[in-house]
Symmetry: C2
Subunit: 355 residues, 2 copies
C-alpha cells in the first residue's frame, strides 16, 4: 500500500533541510520496504505570498486533505510578510482545519550535544510535551475599542472547550500510561488566570479517574518553567494548553541543547485528516542560504511521521542513525551549531548512510 506524503519546504532553511529529511526517509523506506510517494507543493511560504498576495491557493484544503501526511519545512520571512500573517495563513490553518489537535514534542538529551544545564548527561532528560494545538489562547476572537486614542482597549479571548481539552488530556494520559514511569504533569496557572485555568485543573482531575496507574502532578507555568531548568529529570509527559505547550516545547529542547534539532508532530489521532510533521526551528533568516542549517530537526520529524504511519521500526532506525552520528562526533560532518565544520548536506548524507 502506497502512503502519500505532501512535501512543503516553506521558507528559508526549510528549503535547505527538506532534501536531507527526504534523503533519510528514502533510505529508511528502502531498508524496511515501505512504499512512500512524495508530492511537492510550492505554497505555504512567503515566496508564494509575494506572487499571489496570500500564503496558499483557495483550494489548499482539497489539494492536501487526502494525503497520509504532510512533511513541512519552516515558514516565515518577516522582512516581507509579518509573522502573524504568514503563520495564520499557513501552519496555523493546517493545525485547525485538519484538526491536528495534538502537538507532540520530545525533549531528549542526545549524545554529543552540549546541554546548557550543568551536570546533565544523556538519559537524564527524556520526556514529551503534549500541547493542545487548535484552541485556547490562540484564538481569533477579540478586537479593539477606542482605537488610536488614549482610551484604547484591546481584548482577546482565550476559548477552551471540554471537547478540545478532554481529547488532549486523554492522549497525554494514554501516552503516559504507555511509558515505564507512567507520570503526567499538567501545566496550569489557576492561581492567577482564574476562570479558564481552575477549570483546566478540574478536567485533569476528572480524566485522572480513568487512569489509576498514572501518577499526576501539576505546576503553575511560572514555577514549571523554573523546574524545567532545575529538575528536568522530574518529567515524563507534560501536558499544556496551546500557549503553555508552546512555551514548554521550546524551553524543553533548549534545556537539552536541541532547540535546533527538535521535531514537532501535529497530529490528528483519528486519521480523519493528514497529520503534519515539522522541525521546531523556524526559517532562520540569519543563516538561510548558507547551507549550514542542522537537518536533524527535519530528519527527526520524518521519523515521527513514519511512526505515525505505522512504521515504528523504521522510525527507530532513523533516530538510532542520527544518535550514532552524533555520538561519533566527527566534526567534519557536523553542522556549526553543534561545533562541526560540515554542512547541511554532509550531516544529512552521514545519517542516510548509517541507515
Amino acid at each position: 500500500m502506497t502512503q502519500r506524503i505532501a512535501v512543503i519546504p516553506g521558507d528559508g532553511i526549510g528549503t535547505e533541510v527538506m532534501p536531507e529529511g527526504l534523503r533519510a526517509l528514502e533510505a529508511a523506506a528502502k531498508k524496511f520496504g515501505i512504499d512512500l510517494a512524495f508530492e511537492h507543493f510550492d505554497f505555504a511560504c512567503c515566496d508564494y505570498y509575494a506572487k499571489h498576495g496570500q500564503m496558499m491557493p483557495d483550494d489548499w484544503f482539497d489539494q492536501l486533505k487526502d494525503f497520509d501526511a504532510i512533511f513541512y519545512g519552516a515558514v516565515g520571512w518577516p522582512d516581507t510578510v509579518p509573522d502573524h500573517v504568514s503563520l495564520w495563513g499557513s501552519l496555523l490553518q493546517f493545525r485547525r482545519q485538519f484538526d491536528q489537535y495534538i502537538n507532540l514534542r520530545p525533549c531528549k538529551l542526545l549524545p554529543g550535544i552540549k546541554s546548557p544545564l550543568a551536570d546533565r548527561k544523556p538519559g537524564d532528560i527524556d520526556f514529551y510535551v503534549v500541547r493542545e494545538n487548535t484552541e485556547g489562547e490562540y484564538s481569533s476572537v477579540g478586537g479593539k475599542m477606542f482605537e488610536g486614542t488614549d482610551r484604547e482597549v484591546v481584548i482577546q479571548e482565550t476559548v477552551m472547550s471540554r471537547h478540545g481539552v478532554d481529547r488532549v488530556l486523554k492522549y497525554a494520559f494514554d501516552l503516559a500510561q504507555s511509558r515505564p514511569r507512567k507520570k503526567l504533569t499538567s501545566a496550569t496557572k489557576s492561581n492567577g488566570i482564574a476562570i479558564t485555568m481552575p477549570w483546566w485543573d478540574e478536567r485533569v482531575e476528572a480524566m485522572s479517574g480513568n487512569y489509576s496507574d498514572v501518577s499526576v502532578d501539576k505546576f503553575h507555568i511560572d514555577i514549571l518553567t523554573a523546574n524545567f531548568v532545575l529538575h528536568p529529570d522530574w518529567f515524563d509527559v507534560v501536558v499544556g494548553s496551546n500557549l503553555f505547550g508552546d512555551i514548554l516545547s521550546d524551553l524543553g529542547p533548549a534545556c537539552t541543547g536541541t532547540i535546533g534539532v527538535a521535531p514537532s508532530a501535529n497530529i490528528n489521532p483519528e486519521g480523519r485528516f493528514p497529520s503534519l510533521f515539522e522541525p521546531v526551528h523556524g526559517s532562520a533568516p540569519d543563516i538561510a542560504g548558507k547551507g549550514i542549517a542542522n537537518p536533524i530537526g527535519q530528519i527527526w520529524s520524518g521519523a515521527m511521521m513514519l511512526e505515525h504511519l505505522g512504521h515504528a521500526e523504521a522510525a527507530k532506525a532513523i533516530v538510532d542513525a542520527f544518535e550514532a552520528v552524533l555520538a561519533e562526533g566527527d566534526a567534519s560532518l557536523l553542522t556549526p551549531d553543534i561545533r562541526g565544520q560540515g554542512t547541511t548536506e554532509t550531516l544529512g548524507q552521514a545519517i542516510a548512510q548509517r541507515l
Copy 2:
C-alpha cells in the same frame, strides 16, 4: 520624617522569614538614621480566612492606604484555601486596588549560589524583569457556557489598555536608559496571539521613539524562555505582560539559582498608594514550620523597599551584606537550600550583623 510600614507576614514560611526581613531593616535603619515605624497586620493569610471566611476585613483598603509601603511575606495554604481564592482575596487585590502596576524583579547571579546553568559566573547574569501587574491575562472577565455538559465552553478575556501598557513600557524604558547597557527586550507572541500581541509590539515601537539611546529587541515568549537558558547574558531590562512577566520572573531567578531568594517589588511609581514588597517564593508548605527557609528573599525585598522610599544607600548596604555572607560561604550559617546546615535565624542574624 517617619515612614510607616505595614507588615503582613501571611502564611507558611512567610511568618518565618518576616522577622529576619525586619531584623535587617532595623539594622540598616539604625546605621543610616532612617526613621521607620512598623505596624503588624494579621490578615491577608489563610488563618484569617479560617476564622472569617474571607482573606481580609472589609475595610482593608482604608486600613492600609496611608502607609508608605507594605512589607509582605507569602500567601497561600492550598490544603485549606484554594490558591485562586487566597490570591485573588489578598495579593492580587493589593496589586490592583493600590494600582501597583509595575512588578520589578532582579535576576542576578550571586556569589556562592550555584546556578543550574553550566559555565556561568557572578557578573554574567544581571538583569531586571519589568512585569505589567494589573491587567492583561489576569482578568476577571469571562465565564462558562453549557456548564457540566459535553458542549461546555470556557472563556477568559485578556484585556490590555493603552493606559495600562504604555505606563509599564515607559517605566521599563526609563529603567533601561538609567543602566549602562541601555538595552530593552520585549516579550511578545505576536505570531500566535494575533490580536493583543501585535498591538503590544506597536506600543513598544511607538514608545521606543522617545528613547533613541535605548536599543530595543523583541522575542516571542517561547524562544525567549529558551534564550534565558541559552543566552542569559543578552538581557538588561526585559518587559512583559502580566503572564509573560510572571513566567520570566520565575525562570530568570531559576537560571541564577536564586528562586528561593529573589525579591519582588509591586510598585505604584507615583506614590499615590503604598507599594508592596515580597519575596518571589511562596508560603512553601513543604518546609514550613521547620525554621529552615532562606530569609534572603524577604531581606532583599526589604532592600528594594528602602530604595523605593528614597534610601538607596541603605538598600545597597543590605544587598552588600547578604552578598558578603554568601561569598564567605560559612555553611554553619547558610540554610539547607544553599547547601548549609544553618537556619532561617542564623542566616538572618549573620546578615544583620554585617550591617
